[in-house]
Symmetry: D5
Subunit: 132 residues, 10 copies
């Protein structure tokens, strides 16, 4: 299961200015849920049915009091590696976990997943109000 | 004929959040209508007149209560393979069939078709109001 | 001279929906006017002065009651082949001829012409009000 | 089944010169064989198992006495549309059929197929000796 | 010195329609001012200090009563070739000269200059109000 | 008909050195032969059947005593504009006409033609022996 | 550990012709060996040290009596997912396992790995003699 | 430490016009802070822990009374070379130093940093109100 | 006239090893000869006829005892700025001047010139024998 | 000074097979020598004259008994950061240091440096004999 407790933060060095942080994480991988059930897959199950999914996660936010620490974000995204999870849930889950850890003014998470069955999927979710 | 009954849905896992799902389907193919008549073509007719059309279908929507199931979408798009249909009708038909199955907050279908007679065509249709 | 009478239309299959049709015609060619006079050029004149122009015509419109028939559009654009005409006039003329034939809700014509004398030109003209 | 009898030729206009003709056909489509059996698939079977394959066929040859007629080549390639056939067989079959019809000095057929199961395949076969 | 008197115009063939003309001039060159003084440089001075600058000038405008003649624009831009002039002044000077000659509804001039000292510069200036 | 008499040459300024001249002519256009007969087409015939062809001609050669004059080459290529001619013949004809005018050590002509009926064609012909 | 026993083959449909099969597998992932020891990593170890590696595996071969079955190749490559293995060993191991299963006339395996520590690595290994 | 005193300005040659200056500086480098402490690193420390960071700095502004002198900007950006500094602080610091020196109507600084640990970061900060 | 005396050299730091130096100079400019006469053009002549030419010069060589000094090469290439010279002569002249100054084991000069009259030209000349 | 003693190796896991390892290091930086003297530059000197150089180092080799350890290669390349060194010397020095540490069957080092004074340089050096 994704391990939100891995996420760490550090104080925003410019808290009074509404600036923007964007991160591109091109090495996201999880497993396709087996039989429609989202769960941890054993290696055997994986070879028999639950295929690996690959994608790029784009995270953009206007920080409030804290920023997410880059190395902890990397470890958090690695924790999806052997989970069975649908695209829609993965993107919204990352948004929920990050927003809970960082409490941003505004945050957007985009999951841009590799082609499967001839179809490419991109999921985009947001919290907060963007200052235009 | 396109088989809308192939489309299946699953409950939106995050129904309270207005997030966006975008799908790119680069392997759409149908037939050019024979003699201006839209219909199923036999293999013979096809070789004598009704040329194959190729294109990419882009589908973007904000889900309401349900999301479209990816594999069923693939089967639905395959069902145009041996139909004679005009570009304008194909795109609007896909929008109608998907919107009826998913009842989205907002949905856009774009058909980006390969060059024919030295001219490339892109058709774009939408239903619902996009929340900016 | 451009032959607007070649343009044919067919009834809009989805007249109640404000959808968009975009066409890209990368093989437009006409002649540069000889001595500043726009006219049909003989082959001889062409070799002595009126150089061929090349460009791509982009046409985008929201159809009203009718759509332009693709093959007739191709023939209409071919009819500029041996005409001497300035870029500005060609683009506005295509817009006038197409708008008269199709009576669209909104229409834009862009002429993107190849480099001449080290300068590239793009002309854009529109009629009607775009629904945002 | 692919219909080699559709291929037509015309006399090589420059038979004494060893020149090269290359053709790129980006709209090739066939079906994946059902249950490993290569055969014609019904529409129903196709929706239940035999997925469509898509690819680009590259044909390069040095003509001998005749050249392949372009429109007949297009019709021949269309005749694979509803056949179940493996990539390796499709490419070698096209090479055999074309080489039989054209009897070239040298010929190469490349099939560059779209990604399936996260893997992209390219098959290359040749007959005759290329003059360097 | 830039020679604005080279600019010629012709009557706008569609004066009642607010259309747009865009020109891309990728072969602009001038000299870097010597010792901070903007002036004509001799060949000797140039080799000793004032380095050549290169860039692309983009001009976009909505014509009023007249359009700029393409060949005269080319000659006008050539007249910067042996002048020492700063980027900021060159772009604003071109805008002033063209706007005085054409009296456009709206005009924008962009100077996109090649990298110097590891830094690339783009200057953008406008006159008039763009009709959205 | 292509007018080889338009081709002019000038003396090779470095006749003792086997250097290479390559030219790319992206604005070649001719007509597709009507009913398979290669001939000059009237404007009417053209609109009824003989479609325009477009392509890029690449010419590379090692000059002997003379080089081809660039402006005369442009006029020569323009002279195909209203001719009905097959791809294979056009490329070999250009090679014959140029080789007769320039008598090069080695020459290659490539015709890279736009997609027709979903198929793109490239024809390559050579005379002389290339010094490696 | 990589599971070579997953690889399956099918008889080469054109055994008498020396044709070429190329496969591009862009979704390869394994783990960086922990403390320099190549072994299976637990999820915990992975989060504490052994970082995931990502890359594309290119496989090209001239088949002998058999071809590798595509789906079994996919499963075989998935079996590296939770292994700690160095780049050099992974590429040579894939070559050994595939060559043992397929006994090709010639085979090349290229591993093109994502940037690590600011450095990108590509490993290329071959067996057999390529027929030119 | 970054040396803001290196920044020099010159009078805006067109102070009455709200034009825009954009600069792209692709050769920015600093050091990753050692042990989370931002400071100057010795060469030894650098080799033991504080890795170099690389990125592109984009600066866009509408000048007020003065413009930044290009060569002084280059020297100022070089002064980060041996400093340990976080991405967020670097971008905001550059914005503060430049805005203090130039007092622009509006200014934006974007830091687009190279991939680290499989993640790419882009930081964007602004001061002043952009005139649309 | 091009000023070969500007070229300076420095001793090859690794004279015993046959390594290769390649330089790309994208900002070459000269003038088109007026009335076919190659000569220095006044500013007036230039505006009346002799148009500026632009191109990229690629120089590759295996040094013998000396290497060309980069800044002196830049000044040498600038000295073509106000000369009227044909493409063929410019490239061979640069090769002669550089080879005389550097006495390389092998040297190649390529002039890749911007499109003129719809035709792009590339000239390639070499001296010496390349060690394969 | 570059610190060759930082380079570490590990035993080649497949010593009997002549395979190839290629590494791309896009973040190389050193200083331009001050006053033509190659030496370590202080920060002050650097700001007054010795400008930073940036480039990508490509290393390709066929290993003998050992391979270079990736992290030690990164530290070795970092050790050029504050050195004043010419391009030609840097590339040959890296080749000498690496070849001494690894004793490869064949090795090539390419330094692809950023544009300076409008000129881009690429240096390529090799040791050993490549097995074709």
């Amino acid at each position: 299961m994704p391990r939100a407790e891995l996420l760490e933060t550090f104080p925003n060095p410019y808290p009074g200015r509404g600036y923007e942080i964007a991160m591109e994480c091109p090495e996201f991988t999880s497993l396709c849920p087996l039989g429609g059930i989202e769960s941890d897959a054993t290696e055997l199950q994986q070879l028999e049915g639950g295929a690996p999914d690959f994608g790029t996660i784009f995270i953009t936010y206007v920080p409030g009091d804290v920023c997410v620490e880059l190395k902890s974000l990397k470890l958090y995204l690695w924790s999806f590696r052997n989970d069975g999870i649908f695209y829609e849930r993965a993107v919204n889950r990352i948004l929920d976990d990050l927003a809970a850890a960082v409490r941003p003014v505004w945050m957007e998470v985009v999951g841009d997943f590799n082609i499967r069955g001839g179809i490419k999927s991109v999921i985009t979710a947001r919290v907060g109000a963007r200052i235009p």
